[in-house]
């Protein structure tokens, strides 16, 4: 891709997490190896040459904190901070609305949606997702799940899924920008709220979403032990994920 061609927009979601505890306790603002979690996510996006715009969705009450963190930790990044919504779907919708003019004009051809609580995303995986999304329309990273069993209402084990049948989905998820925008417009018209980005695409479009093998290191910070693990992974990579 040349620098004059369409660009990729990366949307990093940092608007949730504090549902019960308020925005100040959102895990994306926790320190991790000398930076806040969200700074690692944003830095990874900025290291992909195809990414031309980076949008960060935050809770309105976190805006000042986000500004301060970005200014201190990633001052060279041009990050557009916008208000998120009450749900992940609403935050994605707000981000797409923010990008809509460039999507319609064709200046942006792919949108990446990334969870800010996954700070260890490798730029090489982002590049692969962009390439696949440009080929088929959508790309979602995931890791094969081999230890899943179906259990019926009486707790009887019924069937063991084949290893290739299920994947544990990660982010970022990459989509054709125009398809994504039209899917979210249709969802808004119907009052549909998707659990993740690809669910909206599947419901409102015929676009193909292809699975790309994810990365074991691309963990979502959920349990306290994940923070310790993330710190170790970053230390092992010299605080610079390739």
């Amino acid at each position: 891709m040349t620098s004059r061609g369409p660009k990729v927009a990366a949307v990093v979601l940092a608007g949730g997490g504090g549902t019960r505890f308020g925005g100040l306790h959102n895990k994306v603002y926790l320190p991790l190896a000398g930076r806040r979690v969200v700074s690692w996510s944003l830095s990874a996006m900025s290291r992909v040459p195809a990414v031309g715009r980076i949008v960060l969705t935050v809770r309105p009450e976190d805006r000042e904190l986000a500004d301060e963190i970005l200014d201190r930790e990633v001052p060279d990044l041009a990050v557009e901070i916008i208000d998120g919504g009450d749900t992940r779907h609403a935050s994605e919708y707000n981000a797409l609305h923010h990008l809509a003019a460039d999507v319609r004009s064709g200046a942006i051809d792919i949108v990446l949606i990334h969870d800010g609580a996954r700070p260890l995303i490798a730029p090489s995986l982002i590049c692969e997702l962009i390439d696949v999304a440009r080929d088929v329309g959508g790309a979602v990273p995931g890791l094969p799940v081999s230890d899943v069993t179906e259990v019926d209402s009486k707790a009887h084990i019924r069937e063991r899924f084949k290893e290739c049948a299920l994947v544990r989905v990660q982010t970022p998820q990459a989509f054709d920008a125009q398809v994504l925008l039209s899917a979210y417009a249709a969802a808004a018209a119907e009052g549909f709220t998707g659990s993740d980005t690809s669910s909206c695409i599947e419901r409102f479009t015929d676009s193909v979403v292809k699975h790309v093998r994810g990365d074991e290191r691309n963990i979502k910070l959920t349990y306290p032990r994940d923070l310790f693990l993330a710190e170790q992974i970053l230390a092992a990579s010299g605080y610079s994920l390739k």
């Binding site: 505890f21 895990k27 603002y29 320190p31 991790l32 910070l221 349990y223 306290p224 923070l227 310790f228």
Partner: protein
């Protein structure tokens, strides 16, 4: 010290956790609902802290230059206070490690006394 909503293994739900850092290294996470704690191994924490402190000292001039280039007035106005308070802040962040060493020394002395050494 920081707080964040994280999933607790014991409670099986997202609960408020208190996170204690030694410098830039996460030392301990405690669930405020049930008290379940996850800790960094103490010996490894000391090694990690010292390695990280060395890295921080090495990169400090570069980080200061970047900061002064971005916000010169703010940097200069905050510099005297930073210089005065930095030693105390360093001591404060390393205190849990010093405390841990002192506690181990006390326990070792008690064990030696019990053995009549």
């Amino acid at each position: 010290m920081y707080r964040a909503g994280l999933m607790c293994n014991e409670c099986g739900d997202v609960e408020m956790h208190e996170l204690r850092y030694v410098g830039r290294i996460l030392a301990r996470s405690t669930c405020l609902a049930c008290g379940a704690a996850v800790k960094h191994d103490e010996a490894d924490l000391r090694t990690a802290y010292l390695r990280d402190l060395e890295s921080r000292l090495r990169t400090k001039p570069h980080r200061m230059l970047k900061r002064v280039a971005r916000h010169p007035a703010k940097f200069i106005s905050q510099l005297p206070s930073a210089i005065i308070h930095k030693p105390a802040r360093l001591f404060e962040e390393a205190k849990p490690l010093v405390g841990g060493l002192a506690e181990r020394a006390r326990m070792s002395n008690r064990a030696n006394q019990a053995r009549g050494l």
